[in-house]
């Protein structure tokens, strides 16, 4: 029961704020140092991917600090909808425990080495805003427009926060989990289409039709 994550998967390094002594330790040290530079409370280095959690009030400040601390390359920005309302699959393991929120992610990396980190900020669903990064990185403009139209997040101080892909009249935010994928609403999950009833079960309408044709 007390398997450490690194035993389950060799790539899994530290979670939370513990620095392991194995090979993944260097990455955890990097993550911890970065977190202190940008003033973040939490970080993780699981699956060799460094995450640094930032309060949305300090978002632009933290990203600027990280840029000046040796991560001058802005790679991308996007978001995730953490929702209990998952339309397909068995959903998250303990849906009731999940904290409903949007998460905005931005990746910065070094130019001279493979160092890089994902900065993550939680955005509450009832008041989805975060500061725009365009004043820090011009290249954030399109990424933020995409995240805004797909998730309905307001990027404050964005110079031109209009739809990037979708037509102006489009209603809804497609990448929200509550937005249905029409092709799946109309057509059920493949594999559930041609299921025959178990022997002895009451015949379905389809079976009745078949009998009629044969008769």
């Amino acid at each position: 029961v007390t398997d450490s994550p690194s035993e389950a998967n060799p790539e899994t390094a530290a979670a939370g704020n513990e620095i392991p002594e194995d090979g993944a330790g260097a990455l955890a040290v990097f993550a911890a140092e970065l977190a202190s530079v940008v003033g973040a409370a939490e970080w993780s280095a699981e699956f060799a991917t460094v995450h640094v959690s930032v309060d949305r009030e300090r978002w632009r400040e933290a990203i600027t600090a990280a840029r000046d601390a040796g991560l001058p390359f802005f790679s991308w920005l996007s978001a995730i909808d953490w929702s209990r309302q998952v339309s397909v699959g068995e959903s998250v393991e303990k849906p009731d425990e999940m904290h409903e929120r949007y998460q905005v992610l931005a990746r910065l990396s070094s130019v001279t080495s493979g160092d890089g980190a994902l900065f993550v900020a939680d955005v509450p669903k009832d008041d989805p805003w975060i500061d725009s990064l365009v004043p820090v990185f011009g290249g954030a403009a399109w990424h933020e427009r995409e995240a805004a139209e797909m998730f309905g997040i307001d990027f404050r101080d964005h110079p031109n926060l209009v739809n990037l892909y979708l037509p102006d009249q489009f209603e809804g935010y497609p990448l929200r989990k509550s937005f249905p994928l029409l092709s799946r609403e109309v057509k059920p999950w493949p594999g559930t289409v041609d299921v025959e009833g178990m022997p002895g079960a009451a015949p379905s309408d389809d079976d009745a039709e078949d009998v009629g044709e044969e008769g």
């Binding site: 998967n9 699981e46 001058p72 991308w76 339309s87 990185f137 497609p174």
Partner: protein, 425 residues
């Protein structure tokens, strides 16, 4: 000649025209269907005479919701979606997705599969650069280069077809490895092709590198400083032509790239001509890597053994092309009920991937291709975000075009080499 209309008089060089012509700014729409816009890119240009004052790229005409669709399919089905993003670099999309899922699963593809993956990707890079050369040549009026570029690309696509059954959108790199091994005699065919391609690329260099028209149209055109490139997220040949030797294969090696011997070509001029030189040299480097792949191919499996992860059906070349192996179909249909149950369990329910969030990045022909993959522990990805290099590269287009001539704008688009399938996803 005294009373000539100034509009007529300007055509006679011996007539001095001192009349101020009115040149109101003009808005020019290019695309979304236009031969020089590489697919369905649309540009709104504000012109003062022939000078571009402002340029506004408009995208979204090829938006297919790949990221949303993947959230509704099993992990293995996701491969067939992501491969369609940047349709000139399908293997790279598949590779980044498969590597991410494999890392979450804690598995690794067998060595032979990894070597074949590298081999296919590097051939794909050459094929993609051929399309850049062909379309770039066409846009600058070098139609012969267009014909040659597509002709040579077809030679590589023939190999892809022989190996995967398809010219594009192969879905051949899958979670756990590959669905089938290289066909017979593929290695000799690829080796022959390397020699052919080397010779052909040399011919294009002889045709273009010192060609006065090519130099005039490309030198000093579309300059983007390294600082701007970094702030705008520009990667790939564009960034390397600006003097930054950033290459994921060297910085964050995957698939054993650290064991291959190759160079990262760079230039410092950061103009269209520098990008041309970088890409041409990259083609030679890729062919070097392909050669090394062929040398280190050892017999062995191409898919992991774990029955809970591996795709159950085997592919085979039959008289009508590649399809499910008849022996395997016979096995599940006539011999083993357990095999049939297992087959349908994996096909319909897929594989459950442990909870986790991962960023997997590969060096695609156009730059940094990254997939951010989130699993909530189920058989379906919770979220997949594709960081496509064309997206960021295209965003920087106005910085390269504004202030230049409209004719140069076309050369710049060609040098950016955007693929709208990747931009829009």
């Amino acid at each position: 000649v005294t009373q000539l209309d100034p509009r007529v008089a300007m055509h006679y060089s011996e007539v001095a025209v001192s009349v101020e012509l009115e040149t109101p700014d003009m808005t020019l729409n290019i695309g979304p269907q236009h031969p020089s816009t590489h697919g369905v890119l649309r540009l709104l240009l504000e012109l003062d005479g022939e000078t571009v004052i402002s340029c506004r790229p408009i995208v979204g005409y090829l938006h297919t919701g790949i990221e949303k669709n993947v959230e509704y399919r099993t992990w293995q089905q996701g491969v067939t979606y992501v491969t369609r993003a940047d349709y000139l670099a399908p293997f790279f999309n598949e590779l980044a997705y498969s590597l991410a899922a494999e890392r979450l699963l804690g598995i690794e593809a067998p060595p032979r599969a990894t070597v074949i993956r590298v081999l296919l990707c590097e051939l794909n890079r050459v094929a993609s650069h051929f399309v850049w050369l062909a379309t770039g040549g066409m846009e600058l009026g070098a139609v012969s280069v267009m014909l040659y570029g597509f002709r040579e690309r077809e030679l590589i696509l023939d190999i892809f077809e022989a190996v995967t059954g398809l010219r594009m959108n192969h879905a051949f790199i899958r979670i756990g490895g590959l669905p089938m091994d290289l066909p017979e005699a593929a290695e000799e065919r690829i080796r022959d092709l390397i020699g052919t391609l080397r010779g052909r690329i040399g011919e294009y260099q002889a045709l273009l590198s010192d060609n006065p028209i090519w130099l005039e149209r490309n030198r000093g055109v579309g300059v983007l400083s390294a600082e701007d490139a970094l702030a705008w997220g520009v990667t790939g040949p564009l960034l390397r032509a600006a003097g930054v030797p950033k290459d994921i294969r060297k910085d964050e090696p995957y698939c054993g790239y650290e064991t291959y011997d190759f160079d990262v070509p760079t230039r410092t001029e950061s103009d269209c001509y520098a990008r041309y030189q970088v890409r041409i040299e990259e083609m030679y480097e890729s062919l070097r890597i392909v050669e090394q792949c062929l040398d280190r191919l050892e017999p062995g499996p191409v898919m992991v053994e774990d029955p809970k992860v591996r795709w159950p059906s085997q592919l085979e070349v039959g008289p009508d092309g590649i399809g499910n192996s008849p022996a395997y179909v016979k096995h599940i249909m006539e011999e083993s009920m357990e095999a049939l149950i297992h087959h349908f369990k994996i096909l319909t329910q897929g594989v459950e991937v442990p909870e986790g969030e991962i960023y997997q990045v590969v060096e695609a022909p156009r730059g940094e291709l990254g997939l951010y993959v989130v699993s909530d522990g189920t058989n379906i990805p919770y979220r997949v975000h594709m960081r496509d290099p064309s997206f960021a590269n295209l965003q920087s287009l106005p910085r390269m075009i504004e202030g230049g001539l409209i004719a140069d704008a076309i050369a710049v688009i060609a040098s950016v080499d955007p693929v709208l399938g990747g931009v829009d996803r």
